[in-house]
C-alpha cells in the first residue's frame, strides 16, 4: 500500500484529494504547512508528495528544496499559479509534475498513480535490443506493445507504427508529410489532417492530460515529436 503526503493550507482541498486517493487504495498523510509536511516526510515512509506552493510558514518551493536533500520521491506541485514561469521554476527545483488549480480530480489521481508506478518500477526494467523508451513511455518492438509507466496501452497498428517511428527518433520534429511518407511508404500527394487525427488519438491513449502532453508534443506549424526525457 502506497503512502502519499498531501500538503496544502486549504483543508477542504486536502480532504477532497484524500477521498479520491483512498478510493484508489492509497493511504494519505495530511499536512497543512511546509514545516509540518517536512516533518511527516522525515518521520513516515512516504512514496509521493503533493505540495501546494503558496503555504504558510514554509512555502512549497523551499519545502521541496529541503526534501530533495534526503529523498528522491516523486513530487507533484499543486498550485493556483498557472504562469509558464511558475511551472518551469517548480520543475527545475526537482518536482516531477505540476498541476494547476482548479484541477480535474481524475487527472490528479492518474498523475499520482503514474508517478508512483514509475517510482516503484525504477531500476527494475530490463534493457533489450528492440525496446525503445523515453521517460515512462516504452515501446517493445518485439511484441509490438506500448507501455506507459509500466501499464500497457492498446493501440491500432497505424497508431503503433506512428508512435514507434517517433520514439525511435525521439527529440526530432517531423512534419505531417514526413510522417505520412514514413508510415505509408508513399509520397504525400494531398496533405490533409489524417495524421493529426491519429496523433490526437495516440495522445488521448498515452497522455494523462492530452491538452498538456508529456510525451507526444505538437510543434505548432512545424510538426510533431516525442519528447526525449
Amino acid at each position: 500500500m502506497e503512502n502519499v503526503l498531501v500538503c496544502d493550507d486549504d483543508k477542504e482541498i486536502v480532504e477532497a484529494i484524500e477521498i479520491y486517493l483512498e478510493q484508489e487504495g492509497i493511504r494519505v498523510y495530511k499536512a497543512y504547512d511546509g514545516e509540518e509536511g517536512l516533518e511527516k516526510l522525515r518521520s513516515c515512509k512516504i512514496q509521493l508528495a503533493i505540495v501546494d506552493i503558496m503555504m504558510p510558514k514554509l512555502d512549497g518551493i523551499h519545502m521541496v528544496k529541503e526534501l530533495r536533500k534526503f529523498s528522491t520521491i516523486p513530487v507533484i506541485f499543486l498550485s493556483a499559479k498557472s504562469e509558464d514561469a511558475d511551472k518551469i521554476l517548480g520543475l527545475n527545483i526537482g518536482a516531477d509534475d505540476y498541476v494547476t488549480k482548479p484541477f480535474n480530480p481524475l487527472e490528479l489521481v492518474a498523475r499520482v498513480k503514474s508517478n508512483l508506478r514509475r517510482y516503484m518500477a525504477l531500476g527494475s526494467r530490463e534493457e533489450n535490443e528492440n525496446i525503445y523508451s523515453t521517460g515512462g513511455l516504452v515501446i517493445d518492438d518485439n511484441s509490438k506493445e506500448c507501455f506507459v509507466d509500466g501499464a500497457p496501452v492498446r493501440l491500432t497498428p497505424i497508431e503503433y507504427s506512428i508512435i514507434s517511428f517517433l520514439v525511435k527518433n525521439k527529440g526530432k520534429v517531423f512534419s505531417i508529410n514526413q510522417i505520412y511518407e514514413k508510415i505509408w511508404r508513399d509520397s504525400a500527394v494531398r496533405v490533409d489532417n489524417t495524421i493529426s487525427v491519429h496523433i490526437r488519438h495516440i495522445r488521448e491513449k498515452i497522455e494523462i492530460n492530452p491538452k498538456d502532453p508529456k510525451y507526444l508534443k505538437v510543434v505548432w506549424g512545424v510538426g510533431y515529436k516525442i519528447e526525449d526525457i
Binding site: 477542504e12 482541498i13 477532497a16 493556483a80 488549480k101 496533405v191 489532417n193 505548432w220 506549424g221 512545424v222
Partner: protein
C-alpha cells in the same frame, strides 16, 4: 573704507600722472616770444646728449632769428641812409612797386620823399569822382608824359631796377608829347596831399587816364608797403639792438661800387678797414658767414647754406650777389635776455628729467591699474552691491558730467585770460592745473568704471539700462497694437511699411540703395530664421504625431514668438506622454489585479469543483438534485474558464506576454488544429474543409500564440456554427496594401443564431454573438484571438454577411526556404 582709500589713492595717482606728463611734455613743446611772434618749439629726444648750443632747439631759434634779421636788413635798406633812418630818402614809386621785376629802360614814375609817403599812408589816400569833358581832360592832364631813364640799369649779379634806382645821379627825365587819346567822362582823381620832390602832382607827369590811374595805384601801394615796413622796422630795430639781443649781425651790400653796411654792433659801424670781421664773429660762439658772390659759406651751427639762401631769396630785391652776411650768437656770455636764453632755460629745465618723468608716470600708471584691479575685485563683496537700481546710462552720464567739470572750468579760465590754448599750456602753473583737473576727472572716470563693473558682475548692464526700458516700452506698444489686431493688420502693415521704406531709400540714390540692400538682407535673414524655427517645430509635431511623444523642441535655438509656440508644442507632447504612461500603468495595474484576484478565486473554486464531483459520485435517487448538481458542475467549469481567459486577456492587453517569432508553416498549423478538433467537429456535426493554395506557406509568427488564435476561432466555430453545415477554411497568397505578399487565412461558418451585432463589437470584451450569454464560453475568445494576432504583427478581421460569419487572418508571407 578700504575702497574709498583706494579710490583716493587712484585719484592722486592720476593727478600725479597728469602733472608729470604735462610737465614733461610742456617742456618738449615750449613757446618763445620773439619780436613779432610766439614761436613754439619742440624738444627732440635726440638732443638729450647734446649741449644747448648744439641742439636742434638752439638751431631752430637761430633759424627764426636769421629770417627776422634778413627781413630787418631788407627794411633797413628801404628806410635808411648810411645806417640811420632817413626821412628825406627819395623813393621811386614805380621802381619800388616793381622791385621784384625788371623795368624797361624808360618808365613813368613819381619820386616822393620817404616821410611824405609814410605820412600820406597814415592819413590815407583820398579819391574823388569827377566828370570830365574832353576839354576838362586836356586842361587837367599834362600835354606831355614825363619819362624817367635809368642810366645804369644792370640786371646781372642779382641787381635789379629798384636797386639801380637807388643809386645817386643815375636817372634823368625827358618828356614826350602825348594826350592824343584824351577821353571825357567820369574819372577818379587822387587828391594830392603831397607833391613829388620836384613839387609836381601826378596829373603833371602823365598825359592820359591810363597812365594816371597806374601811377596813382603805384603811389598808394608804395606808401602802404613802406608804412608796414616802417612799423616792423620800429619793432625789430630795438629787439635786435646790441643791448637787447645776443644776436650779432653784420651785413654789407655793394651796389655798383657803393657799399652799405647794416649791423647792430656799434663798434663796427664806422670804418672797418683791416678788421677781420669774420674772426670777431667767430669769437662770439655760434656764427654763420655767407657770401654768395665768393661762393663762401661757413658756420659752426646746424643751419645749412640752402636754408640761408632760401631765406635771403624772400628779400632778393634788397640783396644782390655782392653781399656779405655775418651772423653770430654771443653764446659765450649771453649778455642779454632774449629768446636764446629763454630756450636755454627751458632746455636745461626739462631735458635732463624728461625720460625719468615719463618712466615715473608709466610706473604710476601701472600702480593705478593694479589698484583698480584690486578695487574691482573688492566690488564683489556683498555690501558694495548697492547701486543696483541706477540706470546704466545714468552712471555713465553722471561720470561724464564730473569729467566735464575741469574741462569747462579750464575753458572759462582761458576765455577770461584771453590767451590761446598753446600759451595757456605754457603757463608755469599748467602742470598743477592739469593734475587738479585730472584728479577731478578721475573721480568721474572711476564712477563709470566701478558702476559698470558692478553691473557687469550682477549681469545687469543691459537689464538696468534705460535704452532697454525704452525698447521694452516701444516693443510693448508695437506688440499690443499688432498682437491684438487681426492677421491682415499684422502682416500687411509691416509689409507695406517695408515696401515704402525700400522705395524711399531707393529715391535717396546710391547710399540709400546700399542701406536698402542692407535692410533687405536683414529682413531676409529674419524670415529665414523664422522659417527655420517653424521647420524645427513642425518636425517635432510630426514626430509626436508618429508616436514619439517624447520628442521635444530645443527652445534655446529659437527666437521671439516661436519660443511660445515651441513651449506649447512641448507641453502638448508632455501631456500626451504622461497620458500614455498613466494609461500603460493603469493597464498593468488592472492586469496585476485580475491575476491576483483570479488566484484567490481559483482556490475556493477548486473545492467547489472537487466537491461537486464527489457529490455526483454519490448514489442520489432524487433526479432534481442530480439536475442541480449538473448545473453546478457546468457553471463551475465555466467560472474556471472565465478566470483563465480573464488573466490571458489582461496579460495581452497590458503587453505582458512574450512573443518569439519563428518561421512556421501556416498550412501545417491549420492541419494540426483541425486534427486536434476532429472529434469536436464531429460532435457538432460540422464538416471542416481546408483548401490551401499551396502545401507550404511560410510566415513569421509565434507558433504557440498563433495556435491559441486558431484554437479560439475553431472553438468558436464549434460552439456557434449551425450544426450539419460545412466549415470552409481557405489560405492563399495576396498582395497587401503595403505591397508585400500576404498569407491570408479565412475561416467561415453559418451561425446558428442570428447575428444582430456589429462586427467590431464581437472582439470587444464580453461581447458574444448571442447577447443572452447562455451558452458556454467567456466571450473573450475573439478578443484574445484578435489581440494575439495583432501582437504578432498580423491582421485580424471579422466579416458578417447575414448568418455568414467570417474571420480573416493575414500575415506577411516569407519566401519558402527549406
Amino acid at each position: 573704507m578700504k575702497r574709498i582709500t583706494f579710490k583716493i589713492l587712484q585719484h592722486l595717482l592720476m593727478a600725479f600722472i597728469a602733472f608729470g606728463l604735462t610737465f614733461a611734455f610742456a617742456g618738449t613743446s615750449i613757446v618763445i616770444s620773439t619780436a613779432r611772434n610766439d614761436y613754439s618749439y619742440n624738444l627732440y629726444e635726440s638732443d638729450r646728449n647734446r649741449t644747448y648750443e648744439d641742439s636742434y632747439l638752439f638751431n631752430n631759434i637761430f633759424g627764426n632769428n636769421l629770417s627776422d634779421v634778413f627781413k630787418l636788413v631788407a627794411e633797413r635798406t628801404q628806410l635808411e641812409t648810411a645806417g640811420e633812418y632817413d626821412g628825406d630818402k627819395v623813393v621811386d614809386v614805380t621802381a619800388f612797386v616793381n622791385r621784384g621785376t625788371t623795368l624797361p629802360g624808360d618808365y613813368i614814375t613819381a619820386k616822393y620823399s620817404l616821410s611824405d609817403l609814410l605820412k600820406w599812408s597814415q592819413s590815407g589816400f583820398q579819391y574823388e569822382k569827377r566828370n570830365f569833358s574832353e576839354t576838362d581832360t586836356a586842361n587837367f592832364l599834362s600835354h606831355y608824359t614825363t619819362y624817367t631813364h635809368l642810366d645804369n640799369n644792370l640786371v646781372s649779379g642779382g641787381m635789379n631796377s629798384y636797386l639801380s634806382s637807388q643809386l645817386d645821379n643815375n636817372s634823368s627825365t625827358f618828356t614826350i608829347s602825348g594826350n592824343s587819346s584824351t577821353a571825357g567822362g567820369e574819372h577818379t582823381v587822387l587828391i594830392s596831399r603831397y607833391q613829388t620832390i620836384d613839387g609836381k602832382n601826378v596829373e603833371d607827369i602823365v598825359s592820359n587816364w591810363e597812365e594816371y590811374n597806374t601811377l596813382c595805384s603805384y603811389i598808394e601801394e608804395a606808401a602802404n608797403t613802406l608804412a608796414n615796413s616802417f612799423e616792423d622796422y620800429g619793432t625789430l630795430i630795438p629787439y635786435y639792438s646790441y643791448q637787447n639781443s645776443n644776436l650779432r649781425y653784420y651785413i654789407t651790400r655793394t651796389i655798383n661800387g657803393r657799399t652799405d653796411v647794416y649791423t647792430n654792433v656799434d663798434s663796427l659801424k664806422g670804418e672797418t678797414t683791416g678788421v677781420d670781421i669774420k674772426s670777431i664773429f667767430m669769437e662770439y660762439g655760434k656764427y654763420m658767414y655767407y657770401c654768395p658772390y665768393d661762393l663762401e659759406y661757413d658756420t659752426n651751427t646746424r643751419i645749412s647754406e640752402s636754408v640761408v639762401r632760401s631765406l635771403i631769396k624772400n628779400y632778393s630785391y634788397a640783396y644782390p650777389d655782392q653781399i656779405k652776411v655775418y651772423v653770430a650768437v654771443d653764446t659765450v656770455n649771453y649778455p642779454c635776455t632774449d629768446d636764446f636764453t629763454q630756450g636755454k632755460q627751458s632746455f636745461s629745465k626739462y631735458m635732463p628729467y624728461r625720460t625719468q618723468l615719463i618712466i615715473l608716470c608709466a610706473f604710476a600708471g601701472i600702480i593705478y591699474i593694479v589698484l583698480m584691479t584690486i578695487n574691482l575685485k573688492l566690488v564683489n563683496a556683498p555690501e558694495t552691491v548697492t547701486k543696483k537700481n541706477k540706470y546704466t546710462e545714468g552712471i555713465v552720464l553722471w561720470g561724464l558730467l564730473i569729467m566735464a567739470i575741469p574741462v569747462i572750468v579750464n575753458m572759462i579760465i582761458i576765455m577770461l585770460m584771453n590767451t590761446g590754448i598753446a600759451k595757456y599750456t605754457q603757463l608755469k602753473a599748467f602742470p598743477f592745473i592739469a593734475g587738479l583737473s585730472l584728479f577731478v576727472a578721475d573721480i568721474g572716470f572711476l564712477e563709470i568704471i566701478f558702476g559698470l563693473y558692478s553691473k557687469a558682475k550682477n549681469k545687469s548692464i543691459w537689464k538696468d539700462s534705460f535704452v532697454r526700458k525704452i525698447a521694452l516700452f516701444s516693443k510693448n506698444i508695437i506688440v499690443n497694437t499688432t498682437d491684438n489686431g487681426n492677421v491682415i493688420i499684422r502682416t500687411w502693415i509691416p509689409y507695406v511699411a517695408f515696401l515704402a521704406l525700400n522705395i524711399l531709400l531707393l529715391k535717396l540714390g546710391l547710399s540709400g540703395m546700399i542701406i536698402a540692400i542692407f535692410i533687405d538682407i536683414l529682413v531676409g535673414i529674419y524670415l529665414y530664421r523664422q522659417n527655420m524655427d517653424r521647420e524645427k517645430i513642425i518636425h517635432v509635431i510630426e514626430n509626436i504625431k508618429n508616436g514619439d511623444v517624447k520628442a521635444k523642441v530645443d527652445i534655446s535655438e529659437l527666437h521671439s514668438d516661436n519660443i511660445a509656440l515651441a513651449d506649447a508644442v512641448n507641453s502638448i507632447g508632455e501631456g500626451i506622454d504622461e497620458a500614455v504612461n498613466v494609461s500603460m500603468k493603469d493597464e498593468k495595474l488592472k492586469a496585476d489585479l485580475i491575476t491576483n484576484v483570479s488566484h484567490d478565486i481559483k482556490t475556493p473554486l477548486t473545492s467547489i469543483i472537487n466537491y461537486v464531483d464527489l457529490m455526483k459520485r454519490e448514489d442520489i435517487d432524487n433526479e432534481r438534485v442530480k439536475e442541480y448538481l449538473n448545473i453546478l458542475d457546468i457553471k463551475s467549469q465555466k467560472l474556471k474558464q472565465l478566470t483563465e481567459d480573464l488573466v490571458e486577456v489582461s496579460k495581452i492587453s497590458s503587453g505582458n506576454i512574450s512573443i518569439t517569432l519563428t518561421r512556421i508553416n501556416f498550412v501545417e498549423l491549420v492541419n494540426q488544429t483541425i486534427g486536434e478538433f476532429y472529434e469536436k467537429f464531429e460532435k457538432s456535426s460540422l464538416q471542416p474543409i481546408f483548401k490551401p493554395e499551396m502545401d507550404v506557406m511560410v510566415i513569421n509568427a509565434d507558433a504557440r500564440h498563433l495556435w491559441r488564435v486558431l484554437e479560439n476561432l475553431v472553438n468558436n466555430v464549434c460552439k456557434y456554427a449551425l450544426s450539419g453545415t460545412r466549415v470552409y477554411m481557405d489560405m492563399r497568397l495576396a498582395d497587401g496594401k503595403d505591397g508585400n505578399k500576404k498569407v491570408v487565412f479565412s475561416i467561415k461558418n453559418i451561425s446558428a443564431s442570428e447575428l444582430n451585432i456589429d462586427a467590431e463589437e464581437l472582439t470587444e470584451r464580453f461581447i458574444r454573438g448571442d447577447q443572452s450569454r447562455t451558452t458556454e464560453g467567456s466571450g473573450l475568445g475573439l478578443s484574445i484571438a484578435k489581440n494575439l494576432t495583432v501582437a504578432q504583427g498580423g491582421d485580424f478581421e471579422i466579416k458578417l454577411d447575414g448568418d455568414l460569419f467570417k474571420v480573416i487572418i493575414s500575415f506577411d508571407a516569407l519566401e519558402r526556404t527549406e
